[in-house]
């Protein structure tokens, strides 16, 4: 019988939640790396027992951990993220030039085919790759050397590269997103990059339709259609049907189109999920009701999913990397909150139940579907 393994990164450690395919009874293992911020954990699609974790601390900096036995044991691997050549400057919050300084790895993305290869998106925004299972890291400097780099500015959470999408049909193509520079695509394995922000409109920048400067919160893709992308921007839910070259807004009837997380159903490429958040000034659900919204039409028409979720006095947030799906039938949807709950829906969002209620604030959720 299939099994699911949910990898949860929190403000104070990592947790591994496991269940059988029914997804009703759960085993909770953790905290691993107790007391450290675990920004992200993700397993290798090519070797599910290999899992990487980004472990960070304001005191002690960055550590990367790797498990080769499905999360039972861990070993620290390389933690040196040195920018290639002269680091240069980007814009600071006040518009002055500021040196690029490594702070932490926000997102770890293992290769789809090679368990030794893994990517890391870091703050200050850059993309790194390891070809030796995380023991050493090299920057892909073409991204930061894009001509717009000196003009990138940090978002409220820092200037982080938080989203990495690998195209399963074209190994040379990948997408990344940076707060608050926007989305970029490479078609040559990371040598060169182009901004893919046409169609985005952000009222908080001087030119609302500028080539860069947009606060993209997250992007999701269905592996069967890697040219179709769904984006939760600071405000606005967007889609692109041409690999990011053009975006159109699909916020439709959402009660608010601010939010962080977005994901796609494992078997229905036009079924997508978001968690609307009231505003950039009030990072909690509208009316104290935690509602996931589902669109079965790739956006525009949305339905609230509330069964099993708190519908009063709920003021948590759901962060950008804190939603994931499994590939069972029916598709399981998972998300974690800043209040420490991790919710699962084993019926594609129709109903929800908490797996755990009282973890530290959840930063990231990833799911592995195991045979």
């Amino acid at each position: 019988m299939s099994e699911v393994r949910v990898l949860v990164g929190t403000r104070k450690g990592a947790f591994v939640l496991t269940s059988d395919g029914k997804r009703e009874s759960w085993t909770v293992d953790g905290p691993h790396f107790a007391g450290w911020e675990i920004y992200h954990m993700k397993g290798s699609p090519a070797d599910p027992n290999r899992i990487y974790a980004s472990q960070t601390s304001g005191w002690f900096g960055q550590v990367v951990q790797r498990s080769d036995d499905g999360g039972a044991t861990w070993n620290p691997v390389g933690n040196k993220f040195a920018y290639d050549g002269e680091a240069g400057t980007h814009q600071w919050y006040d518009g002055t030039p500021h040196p690029w300084e490594f702070k932490r790895a926000w997102h770890i993305e293992p290769s789809l085919t090679d368990p030794e290869t893994v990517y890391a998106g870091v703050e200050d925004a850059a993309l790194f790759r390891s070809a030796d299972a995380g023991n050493s890291w090299q920057e892909l400097p073409g991204l930061r050397r894009h001509g717009s780099g000196p003009h990138w500015q940090p978002g409220a959470g820092g200037m982080c590269l938080h989203t990495i999408l690998l195209d399963p049909k074209d190994p040379k193509r990948m997408y990344i997103a940076i707060s608050a520079a926007g989305a970029f695509r490479t078609d040559d394995g990371g040598e060169t990059w182009k901004p893919i922000n046409r169609g985005l409109r952000s009222e908080f920048i001087p030119d609302p339709t500028a080539e860069v400067g947009h606060c993209v919160h997250h992007i999701a893709m269905h592996p069967s259609r890697p040219g179709v992308l769904f984006m939760q921007k600071h405000w606005d839910v967007m889609r692109s049907d041409d690999a990011g070259d053009n975006w159109t807004e699909v916020s439709g009837n959402l009660p608010t189109d601010f939010g962080f997380a977005i994901d796609v159903h494992a078997h229905e490429p036009e079924t997508i999920y978001v968690v609307p958040i009231k505003s950039d000034g009030e990072h909690f659900p509208l009316e104290g009701k935690l509602r996931v919204y589902r669109s079965r039409s790739g956006g525009n028409e949305w339905e609230p999913l509330t069964k099993g979720l708190p519908q009063e006095n709920c003021y948590v947030n759901v962060l950008r990397d804190a939603m994931a799906v499994d590939s069972l039938d029916r598709c399981g949807i998972y998300f974690g909150t800043t209040g420490g709950q991790v919710y699962v829906s084993a019926d594609a969002g129709d109903s929800w139940a908490p797996i755990v209620r009282d973890l530290p604030a959840v930063l990231s959720v990833e799911v592995q579907t195991l045979p």
Binding site: W36, S57, G58, W59, F60, G61, Q62, V63, N79, K80
Partner: protein, 98 residues
């Protein structure tokens, strides 16, 4: 000479050690001691000092013999009591968080 070092609890867990660690150095300075610690426990590289500049991370302090040595030059001799192993060099995580 053998120098004793007491690491913060989180770094002891990371390095999988309990209590103090000791390292052998020819001359006891912050730099030589931390070089030796990192050589023996490579997972600690970057967690006490910056990988490249070797500057102390901002929220860590170096104490010994009831003195704050954090702002001493890294090649300054450590107190005799540390060099002789009578007292440990303390790596301290600053109290923060309110």
């Amino acid at each position: 000479m053998r120098v004793r070092i007491l690491l913060p609890a989180h770094l002891r867990v990371l390095a999988r050690v309990q209590g103090e660690v000791t390292v052998e150095v020819e001359s006891a300075t912050v730099r030589s001691v931390l070089d030796a610690v990192e050589a023996r426990y490579p997972m600690l590289e970057g967690t006490i000092r910056d990988h490249t500049t070797k500057e102390r991370r901002a929220f860590l302090r170096f104490f010994a013999c009831e003195q704050d040595l954090s702002h001493e030059p890294p090649d300054a001799p450590l107190p005799e009591a540390v060099a002789s192993g009578k007292e440990p060099l303390l790596v301290i995580g600053a109290v923060a968080g309110g």
